[in-house]
Amino acid sequence: MRDIAFGQYYPTKSIIHSMDPRVKLILLVAFLVLTFCTLNYAALALVVACVASIVLLSKVPVKMYFKSLKMIVVIVLITSALNLFYGTGEPLWEWGFIKITLSGINNAVFVAARIISLILISSALTFTTSPTDLTDALERLMKPLTVFHVKVHEIAMMMTIALRFVPLLLEETDKIMAAQKARGADMESGNLVQRIKALVPVLIPLFVSAFRRAYELAVAMECRCYQGGQGRTRMKILTLHKSDYICTFIVILIIVGVVLCNVLLPHTLR
């Protein structure tokens, strides 16, 4: 349970850590779009190289990234396998109804590389940005939406609290599971339906305790004069530094590079 690496903050000092979370968020979105706009190997290589350098620059142990990749290994395998067999054109190898074509291989490589870069780059964001910074950035970026009566502050506050309570509830789940096992609950055997049913005695106490916690937290927040977003100030002021401009500039260069690769070189994917 404790092994979930995706979405966890890893505090250390690096260029990526010190970047403005708003910039990181915007650049992440740009990058995600970019990975799906690669149409030939040159463009793909450029994006992959960038992702790799970001991973290295973040100074987060590579082991952490592998952990977050571990969760999606199955998805990567299935999607690339499907793409491998659904290629069109001249078959390179045939066995019964299975045939592998060059375009199938290309598709598989692209899909795998895209999904892996997607996960790596989003993990890089969450590893290098504290959850509060992230929600703070979201709150500030979504600020214009208040015009449409979107409760931006409330959404951000909810996210902060949710993130705060994730490790707590995980710990509690472990405890309740241990307690139920001590009472003779069987959670490891039986078919899928039986196993899901065995989770009910874990989920109910978890829900009850979550509600109790929520009530207590509300009391504590009120004790600390919380009155919603109005008239609230923030301790951390987000300011753009030189590094933010440089990084944005580099990303723009990469975007231009990918576009050039796509335009000038023949497309691998159709």
């Binding site: 903050y9 505090p11 504290s130 959850p131 509060t132 902060t160 609290i161 993130l163 705060r164 490790p167 707590l168 710990e171 916690r213 207590e216 937290l217 009391v219 504590a220 927040m221 009120e222 004790c223 600390r224 004069c225 919380y226 009155q227 008239g231 609230r232 100030t233 923030r234 301790m235 951390k236 002021i237």
Partner: protein, 285 residues
């Protein structure tokens, strides 16, 4: 006027109209409770579970309003409208479970939560947060997530979160109940230090008699009423009264009490272990 003045405080969860409508008679959770706390004083509020001590705590920062009687905080009536946040700035409340009162996932951001709500300028919040974290000796942990800290450390962060709002008084509702002995010691030292060095008025609610010994004054509650109040020495010398209400006295006091019952001559009952030792030495030599 004293900083906190409670005059004949009564509280019940159902008001009189509802009682008549539904034909039920609700028990008074607080029944004619009167006490005062001076500025800078360290008061311990003792009692069993369900004796109304947490209810008193919630009255002190206007989370609950009295059903009868009056409660003044720094000369402000808690029942006055739109004064609840003024009162909460003056009186901070620390709750029992440290996990459920931390809001943010980084220590310093959690401490900043209170001042942020008060709308203080960012640079000043920074100063207050650093100062508050230093006051509870948690400054080195400012960038840690709370779930990596021990119970005592979390509770100290919670206290720092209240200090950062610069209240005149801190009410602690059984802050050590969920902690191990080491964590309890840490928290108690912090509380004593805040009272001595910063002159913050402390109302400590507890059921550990040993924690009450260091207070300037002890108020003992039972069944929604005040049983007795006075200095720790005055209160704990009434061993029979406390025993009758199934309350304990500190271990050393009990030892002296029992020895006295066996015929050993003591001028007064000891509160601290050193005191007890010297008395025993005196008697034995």
């Amino acid at each position: 006027m004293d900083f906190i003045t409670a005059q004949n405080l009564v509280f019940r969860y159902i008001d009189e109209e509802e009682q008549q409508e539904n034909n039920v008679i609700a028990k008074n959770v607080l029944d004619d409770v009167s006490f005062t706390v001076k500025k800078g004083e360290f008061v311990a509020l003792l009692g069993h579970n369900g004796c109304g001590k947490s209810t008193v705590a919630k009255h002190l920062n206007a989370m609950l309003l009295p059903s009868g009687g009056k409660l003044f905080i720094d000369s402000i009536d808690t029942q006055e409208e739109n004064e609840d946040f003024t009162i909460r700035r003056k009186v901070g409340l620390v709750l029992q479970n440290p996990d459920n009162q931390l809001v943010a996932s980084i220590v310093e951001e959690d401490v900043a939560f209170g001042p942020e709500n008060l709308g203080i300028e960012p640079e000043k919040i920074r100063l207050r947060v650093d100062e508050a974290l230093k006051a509870v000796d948690m400054y080195e942990y400012r960038n840690q997530p709370p779930h990596k800290l021990s119970g005592g450390q979390k509770q100290r962060v919670a206290i720092a979160g209240i200090i950062a709002m610069e209240p005149d008084c801190i009410v602690l509702d059984e802050p050590t109940a969920m902690l191990d002995p080491k964590g309890r010691e840490e928290v108690m030292n912090t509380i004593r230090k805040l009272n001595k060095e910063k002159g913050i008025t402390i109302v400590l609610i507890t059921h550990y008699m040993d924690e009450a010994v260091d207070a300037d004054r002890v108020i003992v509650m039972d069944n929604g009423k005040i049983l007795t109040q006075g200095t720790p020495r005055e209160v704990f010398s009434q061993v029979e009264l406390l025993k009758r209400h199934r309350l304990d006295v500190p271990q050393v006091t009990e030892l002296c009490y029992k020895l006295r019952a066996c015929g050993v001559e003591f001028d007064e009952l000891a509160l601290h272990s050193d005191e007890c030792i010297s008395k025993l030495v005196e008697v034995l030599s």
